[in-house]
């Protein structure tokens, strides 16, 4: 049997990799991929706690489904913004998109 801590440590590693992508990569699309990795790590935690702590309450799976929906909406809007920015500036590098930076 797999103890709960294996899932939690795996999810922590996946979340940290996603966090590093968000903090350190220049390309905005890879930053978005990092956010997706972080959301996946959170989902693993939600489903693992559902399975190990209280499988009668379905709340963990419902939460994961909601995270799916929010992730899909977020990706659609973010990629539309990237395409729009690329059309104007010929770049999706996060450190060149600084119009609103003071």
């Amino acid at each position: 049997m797999i103890p709960l801590s294996w899932y939690l440590i795996f999810a922590a590693a996946l979340f940290s990799i996603g966090l590093f992508a968000v903090l350190a990569r220049r390309n905005a699309i890879v930053i978005l991929m990092g956010i997706e990795l972080m959301l996946n790590a959170v989902n693993i935690n939600l489903v693992a706690f559902w399975r190990y702590v209280n499988p009668e309450l379905i709340a963990g799976q419902v939460f994961a489904v909601m995270v799916f929906a929010v992730a899909a909406a977020e990706v659609a809007v973010a990629l539309a913004i990237f395409i729009s920015i690329y059309r104007r500036r010929r770049s999706v590098s996060a450190d060149e998109i600084d119009l609103m930076k003071w």
């Binding site: 049997m1 797999i2 103890p3 709960l4 801590s5 294996w6 899932y7 795996f10 922590a12 590693a13 996946l14 979340f15 940290s16 990799i17 996603g18 966090l19 590093f20 903090l23 350190a24 990569r25 220049r26 390309n27 699309i29 890879v30 991929m33 997706e36 990795l37 996946n40 989902n43 693993i44 489903v47 559902w50 399975r51 190990y52 702590v53 499988p55 009668e56 379905i58 709340a59 799976q61 419902v62 489904v65 909601m66 799916f68 929906a69 929010v70 992730a71 899909a72 909406a73 990706v75 659609a76 809007v77 990629l79 539309a80 990237f82 395409i83 690329y86 590098s93 996060a94 450190d95």
Partner: protein, 169 residues
């Protein structure tokens, strides 16, 4: 080591390795393909946790929709896919330290928590988790409000994405 534990370690190694390749890849199309491998590994974990519906939804939504959408976006921003400018920004050391500190903190917290060694609760053999999930999503006592709000959010995101990406000439 039981076979299930060996399977867990193999899938975890593939998933984390693919995630590292996503972070490290110079070519964006390669990053998107490694992202698909990583999503597939997460789907295997859902299946191992008896969440069959989520495993299928992971394949359909993340691999079938989100990753393909990302590949489309990479193709539409073509000349950045294989460019040779630096991959990481100037704060990459800070980012690495923060990510490692977060990982170390989470591992320390997990290992010092007494509940971390619990084994799975026995599933009620009469109750089917998929039908439970389905009725919880649409029952007024369950999560029907969140379900409807999620559908409105998706509609809003669809219209918003169209408006933003529209090329008005």
């Amino acid at each position: 080591m039981t076979p299930v534990q060996i399977l867990f370690i193999l899938v975890a190694a593939v998933t984390l390795g693919a995630a590292l390749m996503v972070v490290n890849a110079r070519n964006l199309v390669h990053a998107a393909l490694w992202l698909i491998v990583s999503f597939g590994g997460v789907a295997v974990f859902y299946a191992m946790l008896n969440a069959g519906f989520l495993a299928v939804a992971q394949v359909v939504i993340y691999i079938g929709a989100i990753a393909i959408l990302m590949i489309f976006a990479i193709m539409m921003t073509r000349n950045v896919a294989g460019d040779s400018s630096p991959r990481f920004n100037s704060s990459q050391i800070i980012g690495l330290v923060l990510a490692l500190a977060l990982f170390a903190g989470l591992v320390w917290m997990t290992l010092s928590w007494s509940g971390a060694t619990t084994t799975p609760m026995p599933l009620d053999s009469r109750a089917d988790p998929i039908s439970q999930l389905g009725s919880a999503l649409v029952s007024p006592d369950g999560y029907v409000l969140a379900f409807e709000l999620a559908s409105i959010l998706l509609l809003g995101a669809l219209v918003g994405a169209l408006m933003i990406a529209w090329d008005r000439k």
